[in-house]
Symmetry: C2
Subunit: 297 residues, 2 copies
């Protein structure tokens, strides 16, 4: 696939997604300050990797990506709430996110916590609205169950707790992978899986898609760790070396920088191998894989 | 209804509910500290008013209350997460809840926030498990949508934001009611409505049930305000007069103590009148109404 049609795909669906995020929050009958705080973080940009993965998976099966607009919106809201809560003083205590003051720096801690709670809750309400798109109720229920599992104690939230517990400890590679497979990987995986379910993929294909997402999730985190040391502060939007300051275990620390880069290449190759074995139209999924592997922010 | 059979009802269903809460968290494959923190607040007691309302509504329509066990579990998890987040230093900054140290005092702020997030997320996963109880997928989706609406920006979370914004302001009675109808009322209402939907109540009856819940929600809050001034500290489990200290608007402050008590009686009478107009077997719902109105904690 050429770069022009890939960027046409991403620009088109990012634009549709961002309008949907905004529209859904604006129509809420709720305190203005709460809505502003929710919109502030939703509008703060970001690569929209999870929605793009969901859209691209549907497209790979020859279906209209927009049948996934509501779950893509829900997943981006969950991702956004997790960033708001992660940035709080009692967690990572970050002042900047994507070059802007973090939510609690602008709206205060109480409102930031509640904006996160509201985004998480709203995401499940938005999932139920899929019935307006002629998706069978059983399929929607399955998707809600998978999303809650990926986002909760057995997924993202559990990963965040393990991440906090792992600070100031020298973790081995396996322990580090377990943290990131939960904290980051599960929500990436469920984006692919919900897309595949909506597109009518066979259950037998889910295993290969999960393996694709497994390697994609680890690649995502390794790139994150590399950027924390070698990235451009202006592009990342937060200070370089903050993982070092936080005494966090990272891939470069465990494997050396060269080792981390080889590990990244390995996961990218394996992700693409799993994609290739699926015999779907995976051009855009491959581009997203490269985007994750070689991004600058 | 005699007191013995009412307390048999509450003891029986509280016991079943508490076992279900515990079972669902214990089976999670998640960090031990996270599960302990979730269980700590779930096990800290409480009147289980919302689950009892849900069970009693189903019983009033002659159905088995246990068809509502999973939504009752989900609603109690949402109620519990809201208490954990409300108690945080950046919100009400409470050290005690039901006579025990608050969650963040035991597990730290980060874990308390994440335990709340995990409970909220898990509640929606548990809702999807209702399909194991032969409840139609469409009914479950409707219930999930209603629960998310009641718990989110347009309901409980919005009410909590309005409550914080109302501190240090002299609110009038209407403003105070709007806060409490959202912060407390919506989750009580949805407990009744989900119970009624599961029992197959007609849509025309929902309006009367909502009016019942409306008065019940206001009665609940007025009693709370009265207890904050006249209650027994040992029974309430937190210091008397804390609303005064927080410069919060309360019913006794706006209406005088006698006025607040008359207002409480009025809402209880109206709640019971709406129940009576439904021609259902409402004996237990009436007992719960009295329990809310005249409780000591």
């Amino acid at each position: 696939m050429n770069k022009t049609s890939f960027s046409a795909f991403t620009n088109n669906y990012k634009d549709i997604l961002e309008k949907e995020l905004k529209k859904n929050v604006e129509k809420l009958v709720a305190p203005t300050n709460l809505k502003d705080s929710m919109l502030y973080s939703l509008n703060a940009g970001g690569k929209r990797i999870r929605p793009l993965l969901l859209f691209a998976t549907i497209q790979a099966y020859g279906k209209d990506p927009l049948i996934g607009l509501l779950p893509a919106t829900a997943i981006e809201m969950i991702h956004t709430y997790s960033l708001i809560h992660d940035d709080l003083p009692s967690m990572d205590d970050d002042d900047l996110r994507r070059g802007l003051p973090t939510n609690h720096k602008v709206y205060g801690e109480a409102t930031a916590i509640l904006a996160g709670d509201a985004l998480l809750t709203y995401s499940f309400q938005i999932m139920t609205n899929m019935k307006q798109c002629n998706i069978p109720a059983d399929t929607i229920l399955t998707a809600i169950g998978l999303l809650a599992e990926a986002a909760g104690a057995e997924g993202m939230v559990g990963g965040q707790v393990a991440d906090i517990e792992g600070e100031n400890k020298a973790l081995n590679q396996q322990e580090l992978e377990q943290i990131h497979l939960h904290k980051t990987g599960k929500l990436l995986e469920v984006s692919v899986i919900i897309g595949a379910k909506l597109a009518g993929a066979a259950n037998t294909e889910m295993k290969l898609l999960k393996q694709f997402a497994y390697h994609l999730g680890l690649a995502f985190q390794i790139r994150d760790d590399i950027l924390d040391l070698e990235g451009d502060e202006a592009l990342i939007g937060k200070p370089i070396g903050s993982d070092m300051d936080n005494h966090k275990s990272t891939y470069p620390k465990i494997l050396t920088m060269d080792g981390a880069k080889s590990e990244l290449d390995l996961h990218i190759r394996q992700a693409k191998d799993h994609l290739a074995s699926l015999h779907i139209n995976s051009a855009i999924l491959e581009e997203i894989t490269d985007l994750i592997a070689y991004r600058n922010n």
